[in-house]
């Protein structure tokens, strides 16, 4: 069967000593930075992004994927141990995980989270392998109009799942799109918005934008109120869950994996939604709903599995359509473009080793996480105790070197400071940076496809409505927009997201 020969190729690529090493480094670095409280997966990847550019494309993407899983894992660890989720998708884990930790069962909670994640990761990897190839076949039939419509849908869905005001998120997307078109116009060669600075002719640096907007803005935010974190002094307890614990986690894990896999494909960061949905479902199905919030195993196993499955399947739109489903995938797109790979359906046919190598490395990365991190948990706990005022100078040094190393361009360093300031101000004004990043990555693609579609449609805008796939996608876009703008939905949405804060 094709699937097996493909997977064999993938594992052969991913299991080369070199790639195994980079996967390992990625997983460890990701966990390392991910456990630093207040730094989420996106910021972690943004800060480590430049390091990977020195490598071969396959190794670099494998390492990035490793960083992603590692950062997520690290986020769950801080959620459980100090009730400080690195990002919203592990916010749910914090609810029951932290309670378990307070009861001296931190080890159990960590092990349940890790086992759940690993199981979900395994299933989701298979799903990616099964569903990605047929989707690329469909995607190859997409014309400019369809791509334009699909990207609009992606951007609008991303807004629906962002925190806070819809209007602000929309404005952030548009701002990102505008920043994305800075640079030389591809059709005419006209420089746009470069303000006479030749360094901006190739467009604003993606790495500078990501590091500034996510990394530096977060450091500034953390510096606002410098305070000591309270770290649980209690013992970790046994790392091995008891038989009863294992029994309690199986069903939630299965349900969480199913939910997460489905939600992950949705554009706009389905992993967050999946973990919330899983928690709600487990609470409703449980014989002891009163245990939830007081240290229920199911409250950790379900959401963690959902979260990890979603993280994995969110690679499907990226690998098949070249469209990022969430900010982390937007970073992957940026990384691919810098490596000279155009993300999209052609990757699977033109570079099968890369395509299947990444898929196989997902599973290997997850395996490494569980094998390495459970024994290493003591090290991560120690890391939590490193005071923040020692950490951020180190992070700043790495960011500066990293950004500079990409192009040896000092303007990129000034851009980092500029984007850091912009990101911080926008954070203070309660605007989420994620939609801006998605807009920035998709901006040039959106414009190119719009212009191509108009040329192909002879200047008639109805071309988007007469082609069935494009019309359907646009209709979906309008529906999503109308639904999220409805006041009743807005209220519900606000409730869900305040729970996560």
């Amino acid at each position: 069967m094709d699937l097996f020969s493909n997977l064999a190729l993938g594992f052969a690529t991913a299991a080369s000593p070199e790639n195994l090493l980079f996967c390992l480094i990625g997983v460890i670095l990701g966990t390392l930075i991910g456990v630093l409280p207040g730094i989420g997966a996106t910021a972690t990847i943004a800060m480590l992004l430049p390091i990977t550019f020195q490598l071969e494309p396959v190794s670099s993407l494998i390492m990035l994927a490793g960083i992603y899983y590692g950062a997520q894992y690290g986020g769950s660890t801080t959620a459980i141990l100090i009730n400080m989720p690195g990002e919203s998708s592990s916010a749910v884990t914090a609810i029951d995980g932290y309670q378990l930790a307070r009861q001296g069962k931190a080890g159990t909670a960590l092990a349940v989270a890790a086992l759940g994640s690993f199981f979900a990761g395994t299933v989701a990897t298979v799903l990616v392998a099964v569903f990605a190839p047929p989707l690329t076949v469909i995607a190859l039939k997409f014309g400019a109009a369809e791509y334009f419509a699909l990207m609009l849908l992606g951007l609008v869905s991303a807004i629906a799942l962002a925190h806070g005001s819809i209007l602000k998120a929309l404005a952030m997307v548009v701002l990102g799109l505008l920043l994305g078109v800075v640079g030389t116009d591809i059709y005419t060669g006209t420089p746009r918005f470069t303000f006479g600075i030749t360094a901006f002719a190739d467009g604003l640096s993606f790495v500078a934008l990501a590091v500034g907007l996510f990394g530096i803005a977060e450091i500034l935010r953390n510096l606002e109120g410098e305070q000591d974190r309270t770290i649980l002094g209690a013992k970790l307890g046994s790392l091995f869950p008891s038989k009863a614990d294992l029994k309690a986690m199986v069903a939630p894990m299965l349900r969480g994996t199913a939910l997460g896999s489905a939600f992950g494909i949705l554009p706009g960061g389905g992993a967050v939604l999946a973990s919330f949905a899983s928690y709600t479902m487990e609470k409703r199905l449980s014989d002891h709903p009163e245990e939830f919030g007081k240290g229920a195993i199911a409250g950790v196993a379900g959401p963690e599995s959902a979260n990890n499955a979603g993280a994995q399947t969110s690679f499907i739109p990226l690998l098949t359509l070249g469209i990022p489903a969430n900010p982390v995938m937007a970073l992957m797109v940026g990384a691919m473009i810098i490596q000279g790979i155009v993300p999209g359906p052609n990757v699977a046919t033109d570079q099968p080793a890369l395509f299947w190598g990444i898929i196989a490395s997902m599973w290997i990365g997850n395996l490494m996480l569980i094998v390495l991190n459970l024994p290493l948990i003591g090290v991560w706990v120690k890391l939590l105790k490193v005071p923040y005022h020692l950490l951020f100078p180190i992070i700043m040094a790495f960011c500066s070197i990293g950004v500079y190393s990409v192009n040896s361009n000092v303007y990129d360093l000034y851009a980092v400071a500029g984007f850091g300031l912009l990101g911080y101000i926008l954070l203070k004004l309660r605007c989420e940076p994620a939609p801006l990043l998605l807009g920035f990555v998709l901006g040039p693609l959106l414009e190119e496809n719009l212009r191509r579609a108009m040329i192909l449609g002879r200047g008639d805008p109805t071309v988007f409505l007469t082609r069935p796939i494009s019309a359907t996608l646009l209709a979906l876009t309008v529906i999503v927009l109308v639904v999220v703008l409805m006041p009743s939905v807005g209220k519900k949405r606000a409730e869900v997201f305040t729970e996560s804060d």
């Binding site: 005001s165 078109v181 850091g420």
Partner: protein, 154 residues
Amino acid sequence: MGSINRADLAAGLVFVIIGAVFGLTSLGLDMGSTLRMGPGYFPMLLSVLLVLLGGAICFNSFRQMHIAVEPYAWRGMVFILGAPVFFGLTVRGLGFVPSIFLTTLLAAFAGLKLRPLQAVLLAVAVTLFCTLVFSVALGLPFRRFGPWLSVVGV
């Protein structure tokens, strides 16, 4: 009710201003037609959209609850944002080693908790580590000590 959400008002204004700047700059670019869009068409479309959205956010801010203004990390902004800029200004002239040392030291002053001696020790450790990893192991083409130092005669 009746109060103003200042964060939203400011956010709206920021969007309107940025949109206006991009829009005015787009005027200098060729718009083209709907058939053959020029370099200015898409940016102009986005700029108008951004101004409209910004306006709507401003308008909405008058009908919301007031949210207390949080403190800004002024000290952090000066030193943290200054660090990459300083690195950019000096990495070629001073060279990688002294530049990264001073950059780390600069960033360390963003917080209030680090004592000067600790900061220097931290900067030394970071410099050693970064030189070994980036310059020696990864072999990035950085000049370790730059031309400025040879002029001074060090």
